[in-house]
Each structure stands twice: as C-alpha cells, then as structure tokens.
C-alpha cells in the first residue's frame, strides 16, 4: 500500500512539472518541438543523460551483474563514459549550429537539405521510425513489468504500461519539449539519488560494504573478475553500439534545443561522472544479490534489485525505487515520443502535404495527435508482445549505430553525396536483417561465437558504402557546400 502511494505521489509530481512548464509555452511549432532553443547547460545535461539512461541502467545492469559480475560495468558503463561524450563533442554543437542557422527542427530536415534529396529524407524517416519502435516498446514493457513486480502483482502489467503511457502522453502533449526537458531533469535527479540511497541502505543492513563483499569473495569469486563471462573481442566491439547516440532522433531534438553552442560544454564534462554515479551502485547490488538469492535464471535476475530491497530495506524504499525506475523509463520514453511527433509533423505532413499552409497552432496539434497515435499503437504492441522482445533493444541500438557514418559524412566530408548516403542506409537495412535472422532467438549473439558484435561489421560496410558511392558519383553543387561549410574550408 505504501509502495502504491509513493508511486502515485511521484506521478502527480511529474504531471505538475509538465503543467507548470506549459505556462511558458509561446504557441509556436519551434517552441513546442525545441523550446525555441532556450535550454541551458544543467537541463541539457539532465535531459541528455536521463534520455539515454533507460530502466536498463537500474534493473538490467544489476541483473546482468548478477550473472556476469563486474565485467558489465566495463562493457556498458565505462565504454559509454568515453564514447558518448565524444560523439556529443564532435556532433552535437555542429548539429545545433546548422539547426539554428537554417531553422531545422529534425535530423531528417538536415540530411535532406545536406544532400538535396527528398527521397533520402523519406527513406531515412522510415528507417528511423522502424528502429525506434522496439525502443519505445521496451520502455512501456519495463514500466509495466516493474510496477507489477514491485507491488507484488497489485498493479497488473497492462495497467502499469497504460499508466506510463498516459502520464507521458499528458506532459509531452501539454508541455512539448520544455515540459519534457523539465520532467527529464526531475526524473534524472530522482533515479540518480535513489540509486545511491538504495545502495547505502542495503549495504548498511549487510554490515557495511567490506562485510557484504566478503560474502561474495567466499561464495562467488568468479563475479569479481571477468573471466570467461565476457570475451575480449566483445568488450572491444560493444563500444560501436554506443555510437547509436549520434543518430537517435531524440538526441538530435535535445541538441537542437540548446541555447548556444557553449551550452554543451558542461554536459560534456560531467556526463562520464553521471554514468559512474548511476551504474556503480546498480552493478554492485547485482553482485551482492548473488549471495542472498542464488540460482536465478536468465531474466529472473532483472529484479534482483527489487528482491534485495524487499529483503533488506523498508517498504517505503520499494516505493521510492519504483518511482526511480519509472523515472528512468519515462525520461526516455517522453523524448522518443516527442521526437517522433516532431519528425512526422515536419518531415511528412508539413514537407509533403501542407508546406507553408499550416499555421503554427496546426503544426503543434498535428504533432500532438501523432504522439497519441504512436503511443496507442506501441501500447497495443505491448499487450500482444512476448517478453523476449527485450532482446530487440540491442538490435535497435545496433541499427542506429550503423547509420553513424551518415552524420559524420554530413558534417565533416564535403565530397559526400546522396548516392553514398543511400548506399550506406541500404547496406545497414540489408545487413541488419541478415544478422537479425542469423541470431534467431539467441540472447547473446556474436558473429561465429567470436565475441564480435554484428554492429562492427554493419558499421564497417556502411562506412565503406558511403565512401565508395560518394566517390563514384558526381560531387555536390558548390551552393550546397557553401551552405553547410560556409567558410569554404572548414567544418559547419
């Protein structure tokens, strides 16, 4: 009962933040979709980080650590601490600058004009939507399943998923990007703080960290090394998956919302620290859980955090943890949903059907309606999907990562052409489908069991296709070069 009450209070707080942000709404499409590019450094950091950290960082990380031990931190956390800020550094401010200069609200607008091809914009739109739907689905599923587990079945999965959808729908449609960014900031702070509090309380009940770890040393020493649980080639190639942040539509949207190029500076510096703060307690609690709850199989371990709290902490902490997990789920889901609404409004409806004939209010309305439609469809998919859909997450990320050469070529390579971009996307689609079918139902598929992630091969081919087909086709017009590389010799 306490748990349900805490969850309810938390959801009301998130809704109030969304409602309050609406007071600053200026009634324009630019304000709804990118907050009129007024977001400052702190909110940008919290938005970028919160959007990237899904429920996986809280629950999945501890579950993986339960099985694989400390290697999970090197595989997913520390790699992200280097790769993600580097992508932000090289791509984010440049995308922002082009967006500000030419009024872009979506990434498709940028790429379509960069290579002067409506067809490419349309193909990219379809591919991006196809890749992001599994990501949305995972979020809703995580929310539903977590609420069900934490409340011991009091809240059925369908009701949990529906609650997450309705709350996100309310503050995204009402508050637009400003509401989303504010809610993200609040929610990111919630899951960062609650992760630490949970760790402290549980470890304190176990007699302190040294005593708790000593139990693992005695019973499961294999969890304190990497051993055979992670192959070296997997550690090396898994980093490519993290390049996906360079092509996520929701990341583009948050970049475009920054007030100035300099707004990126502090988020870049602090992002790696935020990763360590969230992942370290999650991984350690997963490892400590192996002593109290031995023998959990596969996805059963995803709720090791919940089980540890149930055993070692008061009920109110379970409610707070549920709030933290919901925070992680919703802070990703909201941005994804809004970015899809933005893309549909700008790249399809406005560009093809009603260009220059829609008022600003109509743009916002269409965006809101599409957001409702996407959430309804995703929720229906959630009701009929099997839980094994969770494995789609890594495939979704791999697809976005393999599209990374497109943004690099657009920003840094003047000679790149639409044929190179088409070839790159085509190669990603073909190889992605091929490897997906090869993997079948395997949860931990690597090429030939070598540890090499499929994304490494898809990315290499996608890069080669971009280079080869660009060089084989006619160089882009000078006017396009001048537009995107204004000084004539530098980068945009």
């Amino acid at each position: 009962m306490i748990t349900t009450g805490v969850i309810f209070v938390y959801l009301v707080l998130v809704l109030l933040i969304g409602a309050f942000s609406h007071k600053l709404f200026r009634g324009t499409g630019e304000d709804y979709f990118v907050a009129t590019r007024t977001i400052g450094p702190f909110i940008l950091l919290m938005s970028l980080f919160g959007t990237n950290m899904t429920s996986f960082a809280l629950l999945g990380a501890s579950g993986e650590a339960y099985h694989q031990g400390i290697g999970v931190f090197s595989l997913m956390a520390s790699a992200g601490a280097l790769v993600i800020p580097c992508v932000f550094f090289f791509v984010g401010p440049r995308v922002w600058s082009l967006g500000k200069r030419h009024g872009y609200l979506t990434q498709v607008q940028l790429f379509r004009e960069r290579w002067g091809s409506d067809g490419f914009g349309l193909v990219l739109f379809v591919v991006l939507i196809a890749l992001i739907i599994p990501y949305l689905l995972i979020g809703i599923m995580a929310g539903g399943i977590t609420l069900n587990e934490i409340t011991n079945g009091q809240i059925p999965e369908w009701a949990g998923g529906l609650t997450v959808c309705l709350v996100v729908l309310a503050y995204v449609t009402y508050g637009g990007l400003r509401g989303t960014a504010w809610a993200n900031t609040f929610q990111t702070l919630v899951f960062m703080i609650l992760g630490g509090v949970t760790f402290y309380v549980v470890v304190d009940r176990l007699g302190g960290f040294s005593a708790a770890l000593a139990r693992v040393v005695n019973q499961h020493p294999e969890l304190l090394i990497r051993g055979d649980s992670i192959q070296p080639l997997k550690l090396l190639t898994y980093t490519f998956v993290l390049l996906s942040v360079g092509m996520f539509p929701h990341m583009f949207m948050h970049w475009l919302s920054a007030r100035r190029a300099a707004t990126f500076r502090y988020p870049l510096m602090f992002y790696p620290v935020c990763i360590a703060v969230v992942w370290l307690p999650s991984v350690l609690l997963g490892i400590l859980g192996s002593v109290d709850f031995p023998g959990l199989k596969g996805p059963q371990a995803n709720y090791i955090l919940v089980k540890m709290i149930g055993l070692h902490a008061p009920e109110i902490l379970a409610g707070l943890l549920a709030a933290g997990v919901l925070a992680a789920v919703m802070s990703s889901l909201d941005s994804q949903v809004l970015s899809i609404g933005s893309m549909f409004t700008q790249d399809i409806v406005r560009h093809y059907g009603f260009h220059d004939r829609m008022s600003e209010k109509q743009q916002v309305l269409v965006g809101r309606l599409f957001v409702v439609g996407i959430l309804v469809v995703t929720y229906l998919l959630f009701l009929i999907s099997n839980r094994s859909i969770f494995r789609l997450g890594i495939w979704s990320f791999s697809g976005f990562s393999a599209l990374f050469p497109i943004v690099v070529a657009a920003l840094f390579w003047k000679r790149s052409t639409k044929y190179g971009a088409f070839a790159s996307v085509f190669s990603v689609v073909v190889l992605w489908i091929y490897f997906f079918l090869q993997a079948g139902r395997a949860e931990d598929y690597t090429i030939g069991g070598t540890g090499v992630m499929p994304v490494a091969v898809i990315l290499a081919v996608s890069t080669a296709a971009m280079i080869l087909f660009s060089l084989l086709s006619k160089a882009p017009d000078q006017a396009v070069i001048e537009k995107f590389f204004p000084s004539g010799g530098g980068r945009p």
């Binding site: 520390s78 601490a81 600058s97 960290f209 304190l224 500076r265 510096m269 991984v283």
Partner: protein, 75 residues
C-alpha cells in the same frame, strides 16, 4: 597551459583512452584495492579519466568558430 594546446594531442589521447579501455591485464585479477575489485576500480577511474579528457577537449579543442558565427548572426 596555453589555449593553443595542439588538438591532435587530445585526439590521440582520446584514442589511447579507447585502447586502454580494453584492460586485458586486469581480466582475471581478483585483488581488492580500496575495497573494490581491481577490474571494477580501474573502470571507475576510467570514467573519471574520460571526464578529464572532456574537460581538456572543451577547453583546448572547442570549435570556437561556431560561437563566432553565432555572435555574427546575433549582431
């Protein structure tokens, strides 16, 4: 340190950090250092090193041109 610190050194440092992420030398080392398994402590330190690298990149390799263009447009 001068603000004209060569960018290429920072780019090489980023690559070296990427190589150092693959710490084969601690792969099977069970020692506890500062209360943590050494393989885990190494990667926590790696996060801090990545943060330090970003500080240097932001200070010495920032694309100042973007801000110059921004100011020009505002004028």
């Amino acid at each position: 340190m001068m603000k004209t610190f060569p960018r290429w050194i920072l780019y090489v440092a980023a690559f070296l950090l990427y190589v150092l992420h693959n710490d084969l030398w601690f792969w099977n080392d069970p020692r506890l250092v500062l209360g943590l398994p050494i393989g885990l402590l190494y990667h926590v330190a790696f996060c801090l090193a990545a943060s330090a690298l970003m500080v240097f990149l932001v200070i010495y390799a920032w694309p100042e041109k973007l801000e110059v263009e921004e100011e020009r447009e505002e004028e």
